[in-house]
C-alpha cells in the first residue's frame, strides 16, 4: 500500500509536465506550481554499482499525519540510564540547530561523549566520538554494580575540552553473587502498619536510615514496643547446606535460560506467523493469502525456536481440492424452518443461508418450513452425493473463496 502511494506521488510531476503545455495556453501557470511535493527523480545510476542503486523514483514517504512529535525539545539535558550490567544508554536533547552550532565549534566537527565512574573528574573510562547528527548512544562499560556518569562536549581547535552537558548518575546492576554471606534475620510482623512503624522511627531517629536498621538501633536503645529482631547463629547453616542448596538453584542455570515469558511467546508467535504465512502462500497462492500477516522483514528470528512444534514444508508439486455446499432460501419471517433435525435461525427478512463442508458420501437434507400458526407446511428433500478418486498426493485444504455452489451454471 505504501509503495503504491509513493508511486502515485512520484508520477505526479510527470503528469503535470505532460499536461502543462495545453493548460499553459489558457492560464500561463508557472511550472513550479504544477510540480508535486515529491523530490524530482535522481539521475539514473551507471557503472559497476548500478545494480545496487535505488530505482529512479522518489523515496517512499509515510502518509502525512499532523502533527508529528518534535525531533528534539532543545533542553540540553543529557540523560544516562544503565540498561544492564554492561550497557549504558545516553541521550542528549539538542535541536538540529543546536547540534550544528556545537559541531561547528568542535575541531572534529562532532561531539564527544565521556563516561566516568563515580564522579565527573579525572580520566573518563570511555570516550565516544559520536556522529555529527547523533543524539543518543549505547555505551559498553566494564563494571557491573558500578556508578557511572556522563558528560557531553567537544575538543576545540586548541584541543581544549569544552563541556556542554552532564548527566545524573546511574548504577549498573551487579552480575555476580555477593561475597558477603553474613546473615541478619529480622522479624517484621505483617499486621504492623508500616506507616505507623515509620512514624515511630522518624520521631526517634532524625537520620534518614533504612527502616530495618533503624528498628535495630531503637531496640538497642530500649524501645520495647517495636518488633523483635534477632540474629540467627551461623552454626545452623553450614557450607554443606550452602552447597546442597546451590545444587538446586544457581546463577549458571539461570543464565543459560533467561525466561522472559511474554517476549518469548511473542517471538514464537511471530516466527509461527512467518512460517504459517510461507506455508499458506506456497499452499494456496490465492489473492487473499497476502493479507494474512504484515510481517516486519528485519527481525532476527534465527535463534528463537518454537517449543510448540514447527511447520515443515517440503518443496514439491501439490494439489488441493475440496467441495462445499451452501443451502439458502427464504420464507415468511415468522415461520419455523428446520434443516435436518435442527431449527435454524432466520434473518429478519425471512431469508437464510448455510454453508456446509461436503466430504465424500451421499447425503439427504430434509428441509421443512412451517407457518407461524402451524397450518401451512412446505417440505423439500434435498439429496447430494460426492465421490472423489485421488491419484497421488491430494490434500484437503481451505479453498478458493470464489468457488460457488456446485451447480451446472457455476461449473460452466
Amino acid at each position: 500500500m505504501k509503495v503504491e502511494r509513493a508511486k502515485k506521488a512520484a508520477s505526479k510531476p510527470e503528469r503535470a509536465q505532460r499536461d502543462a503545455p495545453t493548460k499553459a495556453k489558457k492560464l500561463d501557470v508557472p511550472p513550479i506550481l504544477l510540480e508535486g511535493d515529491a523530490p524530482s527523480a535522481p539521475p539514473p545510476a551507471s557503472g559497476p554499482g548500478e545494480r545496487y542503486a535505488q530505482p529512479a523514483k522518489a523515496p517512499i514517504k509515510e502518509p502525512s499525519r499532523a502533527p508529528e512529535l518534535p525531533q528534539a525539545y532543545g533542553t540540553g539535558r543529557l540523560l544516562l540510564a544503565a540498561r544492564d550490567p554492561h550497557w549504558l544508554y545516553a541521550h542528549w536533547d539538542f535541536t538540529r540547530d543546536q547540534l550544528k552550532t556545537y559541531n561547528a565549534r568542535s575541531a572534529d566537527g562532532h561531539l564527544v561523549l565521556r563516561v566516568y565512574k563515580d564522579a565527573v573528574t579525572g580520566q573518563p573510562c570511555n570516550e565516544v566520538h559520536v556522529h555529527p547528527e547523533s543524539v543518543n548512544w549505547f555505551v559498553n562499560v566494564a563494571d557491573a554494580g558500578a556508578r557511572y556518569l556522563a558528560e557531553l562536549g567537544f575538543y576545540d581547535s586548541t584541543s581544549k575540552w569544552s563541556s556542554i552537558s552532564s548527566s545524573g548518575a546511574t548504577i549498573t546492576p551487579p552480575d555476580s553473587l555477593s561475597e558477603d554471606t553474613s546473615a541478619w534475620f529480622a522479624t517484621l510482623p505483617a499486621d504492623l502498619q508500616l506507616s505507623e512503624l515509620m512514624r515511630v522511627v522518624k520521631s526517634a531517629i532524625n537520620e534518614n536510615i533504612p527502616l530495618m536498621e533503624a528498628l535495630q538501633q531503637l531496640r538497642a536503645m530500649g524501645y520495647k514496643q517495636l518488633p523483635d529482631t534477632h540474629a540467627v547463629s551461623s552454626g545452623q547453616w553450614s557450607e554443606e547446606h550452602e552447597r546442597a542448596l546451590a545444587s538446586l538453584i544457581n546463577m549458571d542455570t539461570v543464565r543459560r535460560v533467561w525466561i522472559g515469558s511474554i517476549e518469548i511467546t511473542e517471538l514464537i508467535r511471530r516466527k509461527w506467523q512467518q512460517e504459517l504465512f510461507s506455508a499458506a502462500a506456497a499452499e494456496f497462492s490465492k489473492p487473499w493469502s497476502g493479507q494474512l500477516f504484515e510481517l516486519p522483514s528485519s527481525i532476527g528470528l534465527g535463534s528463537v525456536s518454537s517449543p510448540f512444534g514447527a511447520l515443515e514444508r517440503e518443496k514439491k508439486f501439490w494439489f488441493n481440492i475440496n467441495a462445499e455446499l451452501i443451502v439458502y432460501g427464504a420464507t415468511e419471517p415468522n415461520a419455523t424452518v428446520r434443516i435436518g433435525d435442527r431449527q435454524i435461525k432466520l434473518r429478519p427478512d425471512g431469508s437464510f443461508s448455510y454453508r456446509f463442508a461436503l466430504p465424500d458420501g451421499k447425503y439427504d437434507l430434509p428441509a421443512t418450513a412451517t407457518s407461524a400458526d402451524g397450518t401451512d407446511q412446505r417440505q423439500a428433500a434435498l439429496t447430494f452425493s460426492r465421490k472423489t478418486d485421488f491419484r497421488g498426493d491430494v490434500q484437503h485444504h481451505p479453498q478458493d473463496p470464489n468457488l460457488r455452489v456446485p451447480s451446472p451454471q457455476n461449473v460452466a
Partner: protein, 527 residues
C-alpha cells in the same frame, strides 16, 4: 500432618489500556475480548468451582489498573458482549456447516456450549469481572495485587522519582476504588526492580513485591535460602523470588507443557481457513483475516496438516501435566526441606494470559493442579505471599539486585535500538508534569481538569507495552501511534495550561477518549 513447604501460584493479568470510542470496531480492542473469553472468564469459572466445592485454595492474581479500568468500562463491556454474541452466532453456524462432517461437528458444539456458558457467567456477574475476583478475595481464596498504574518499567523512570511515585500511588488508589481495601503486594511491571522504587512502595503501604530469580540470588549479602524464602529489604519490604524450576517446566522448549501435541493449536483458526465472506462479520477488522477463536486442530502433525483437535485427549494431557507438575513440586519441596531449617516456599508466577490464550487448556491445567494439590497430598500447601508473611514474619535482610524477567534479565527489551526514541519524549513530559503541578498550586476547576488529563496522558505514554510491542514487532505501528498520541495530547495540554488558554472542547474530547483514572490525584507529581 503439617505441610513440609508452601507454593504460591501467582498470575499476572495485564493488558494495556486500549479503548477507541471513535471507531465502531477496533482491532486492538480484541486483545481484551480474547483475554476475557479465553482467560479471565474461564478463571472465574474454575474459581467458582473451588468455592462451590468448599476447597481450601489459595491463588494470587495481579489485576492491573489498566485492565480493571477496561473491564469496568461500560462501552467495552457492551462491545465485549456483542463480540461474545458474535462468537455464539458463529459457532451456531459452524454446527450447521459441519452437519455431515462428524469429525468437526462435535468441536463446533464444544465451542457453542463454551461460549454460551461464558456469556452466562459474564451476565451472572453483571458484566463485572473485577467484582467476581473481589468476591474471591473477600472469601479468602485469592490475594489480588496491583501493579504500576499503566505498567511502566519503573527503573527506566529513575530520573523522575515523582513519576515512579505517581505510578505507584495512582495504582494504590485505583485498587482501593476497585476492591475497597489497599493492596499488600505489587507486581512490579516486568518484575523490573531498582531500590529507588522502595520509598514509594512504603508510602503506598505495600509490603511485598516479586522479582526474578537472579534479583534474589544476586542480592547483597547473599541470601541464605536462595529464592526459597523471601528476603526483607533494608526498608522492610519483602521481596519474593521466582522459582526457576516451575517456570522452566511450563516454558522450556524441551519440557514445556504447552507444546504437547495433544493440545489445541493456536494458529490454525477458521478466521484463516474458511471463506473470507463467511468469517468476515466475526473478525475484529472486517478487512483483514485474523483469529476468531474457533480452532479445530491440535498441535500435532507436521506442516499445515494438523490433526483434528481431540478435546478429551487434550484434557487428559492437562491432567497428566498437572500431576507431573505437582509431583515435581513435591520432590522439590522434599529436597529443600531436607536442607533448610524452615519450610521452603516456591513462588511460581506466570502471565495470566498464558492460561487460556496461548495455552488453551491452561485453565483446566490450573484447575486439575489445584484440585490435586488440595485433595491428593500433604507435602505442600498452597499459599499467597501475604499469608506466608503473616505466618513467617522473620526473614533475612538483604538488598535485592536490580533485575527484570525480560530477555537477558534487565531492561533490554524496553530500551534498545528499536524503541529508544520514546525515552527523550517521556523524559521531557515527566519533567513538564512536575513543572505544571508546581505552577498551579490552587487551580480553577477547568485548570484542574486539564492537569488531571495531562497526568493521564503521561501515564498512558509510560506504559511498558508500547516499547515491548516495538521490540517484538507485533503491532509496531499501533504502539508508535499510541506513544505519539499521548505525548502530543500531553504537550497540547501543557501548552494550553502554560498559556492560560485552555480550550474546553478539546479537553473534553481527550477526556472522553482517554477516560482512565477518573479520580486521579495529579499532586502525586509534586516536585
Amino acid at each position: 500432618m503439617p505441610a513440609q513447604g508452601y507454593l504460591a501460584l501467582i498470575l499476572h493479568a495485564h493488558l494495556p489500556f486500549v479503548r477507541h470510542p471513535e471507531h465502531a470496531k477496533f482491532l486492538e480492542e480484541n486483545w481484551l475480548f480474547e483475554a476475557i473469553t479465553e482467560c479471565y472468564l474461564p478463571l472465574v469459572q474454575i474459581m467458582d468451582g473451588w468455592v462451590r466445592d468448599g476447597m481450601d485454595t489459595r491463588l494470587t492474581l495481579t489485576l492491573s489498573p489498566t485492565l480493571c479500568s477496561m473491564l469496568l468500562d461500560p462501552l467495552l463491556q457492551s462491545r465485549y458482549e456483542s463480540h461474545l454474541n458474535g462468537l455464539i452466532e458463529l459457532s451456531e453456524r459452524e454446527i450447521h456447516r459441519t452437519y455431515w462432517d462428524k469429525n468437526y461437528q462435535p468441536l463446533a458444539w464444544v465451542y457453542h456450549h463454551r461460549f454460551n456458558s461464558l456469556r452466562d457467567t459474564y451476565r451472572s456477574y453483571g458484566r463485572n469481572i473485577v467484582g467476581a475476583f473481589r468476591k474471591f478475595q473477600e472469601a479468602g481464596k485469592l490475594e489480588i495485587i496491583t501493579t504500576a498504574a499503566t505498567h511502566a518499567v519503573l527503573p527506566l523512570l529513575a530520573e523522575h522519582p515523582a513519576s515512579i511515585r505517581a505510578q505507584i500511588l495512582v495504582a494504590r488508589d485505583h485498587y482501593h476504588a476497585c476492591f475497597g481495601t489497599d493492596p499488600h503486594g505489587i507486581w512490579l511491571p516486568e518484575c523490573a526492580y531498582t531500590p529507588q522504587i522502595e520509598p514509594f512502595l512504603q508510602e503506598a503501604g505495600i509490603r511485598w513485591f516479586l522479582i526474578d530469580t537472579h534479583g534474589v540470588l544476586l542480592a547483597r549479602p547473599r541470601p541464605r535460602y536462595g529464592v526459597f524464602a523471601p528476603i526483607f529489604t533494608p526498608n522492610g519490604l519483602a521481596a519474593f523470588g521466582r522459582d526457576f524450576d516451575s517456570a522452566t517446566q511450563v516454558w522450556s522448549k524441551q519440557q514445556g507443557y504447552p507444546g504437547d501435541p495433544r493440545y489445541r493449536d493456536f494458529y490454525r483458526d477458521i478466521g484463516f481457513d474458511l471463506d473470507f465472506d463467511y468469517v468476515k462479520p466475526y473478525l475484529p477488522d472486517p478487512q483483514t483475516r485474523s483469529f476468531t477463536g474457533i480452532k479445530y486442530h491440535s498441535i500435532s502433525g507436521k506442516g499445515a496438516d494438523k490433526n483434528i483437535y481431540d478435546r478429551q485427549a487434550a484434557l487428559q494431557a492437562a491432567a497428566d501435566h498437572a500431576g507431573h507438575f505437582l509431583s515435581a513440586r513435591m520432590t522439590q519441596i522434599q529436597s529443600l526441606s531436607n536442607i533448610m531449617d524452615r519450610p521452603p516456599l516456591l513462588v511460581s508466577p506466570y502471565d495470566a494470559e498464558l492460561y487460556g490464550h496461548w495455552w488453551y487448556e491452561g485453565p483446566e491445567f490450573l484447575d486439575y493442579f489445584v484440585r490435586k494439590t488440595v485433595y491428593d497430598q500433604n507435602v505442600l500447601r498452597l499459599t499467597t505471599p501475604w499469608e506466608f508473611l503473616r505466618r513467617s514474619p522473620t526473614q533475612q535482610v538483604a538488598s535485592p539486585s536490580p533485575s527484570s524477567w525480560g530477555e537477558e534479565g534487565y531492561w533490554k527489551v524496553w530500551l534498545n535500538e528499536n524503541n529508544q526514541w520514546i525515552y527523550p519524549h517521556l523524559d521531557v513530559a515527566a519533567a513538564r508534569m512536575q513543572e505544571l503541578v508546581a505552577a498551579f498550586p490552587k487551580p480553577a476547576p477547568l485548570t484542574e481538569r486539564a492537569l488531571k488529563q495531562a497526568a493521564r496522558e503521561l501515564l498512558l505514554a509510560q506504559s511498558s507495552d508500547w516499547p515491548f510491542i516495538m521490540r517484538t514487532g507485533t503491532s509496531p505501528d499501533y504502539a508508535r501511534q499510541r506513544i505519539q498520541d499521548h505525548i502530543l495530547r500531553f504537550t497540547q495540554l501543557y501548552d494550553q495550561l502554560k498559556s492560560g488558554h485552555i480550550q474546553e472542547p478539546i479537553l473534553a474530547a481527550i477526556e472522553s477518549s482517554d477516560n482512565i483514572f477518573p479520580d486521579i490525584n495529579y499532586r502525586y507529581w509534586s516536585p
